[in-house]
Symmetry: C2
Subunit: 122 residues, 2 copies
């Protein structure tokens, strides 16, 4: 979405208040805010500028579900395992993501059209 506060207002009745303030993630050119959903999280994502990959997503598809993120013990290993199976990856190595985590994206072709983000964590 383009307006994070509007998006928060939409989801807050279902999921409650954001888990923290909005955070800029320069490596992805996005501003994000997290809402808790049980043990999972909903990440609301807005582009920081018109060159952000998320700006391109919004202009081609409109608002909607952008990606799924899964916690993995080691991002580089997760990306490597995909590549070794002949799947495409967006990132060859992990890079800085939101909330101080290392992250890396697979290519949507690797998961049947679903953009998957690996998030390194215990």
């Amino acid at each position: 979405m383009t307006d994070l506060s509007q998006a928060v207002a939409r989801w807050q009745p279902l999921l409650g208040a954001p888990e923290g303030p909005a955070e800029d993630v320069p490596s992805n050119r996005v501003r994000v805010v997290f809402l808790g959903a049980g043990a999972a999280h909903l990440e609301l994502v807005a582009p920081l500028d018109s060159d952000s990959p998320v700006a391109k997503f919004l202009s081609s598809r409109g608002e909607g579900i952008h990606h799924l993120a899964f916690r993995v013990p080691n991002v580089d290993r997760a990306l490597n395992e995909l590549a070794e199976r002949g799947e495409r990856v967006v990132d060859r190595h992990g890079r800085p993501g939101a909330r101080g985590r290392r992250v890396g994206f697979a290519h949507p072709s690797a998961f049947g059209g679903v953009l998957v983000e690996f998030v390194e964590g215990p």
Copy 2:
């Protein structure tokens, strides 16, 4: 996706084996299988026939993320609360979903383009 076993093969290296056998959900004209993802689940969904809403989704958008499901204490109440805020709902009342749960869908316009399913459970 149209081929559930192929989809399972794609996701199994990341999420492990399905939590149970595939299940037909006649009310939605889909066949589904669940994979565990921490305390959450990934539901792989295939249309039972060409009139299934999921068949239409696949033909217009291709494979990808179809909807997000959230557990709520009472599906009817969740649908009513949305409707009372002037939002559109697909279902006015809960109906039988997968794994014996009552479910109901909001309209994507209610959540900024995201199709949301409410799943009744404790």
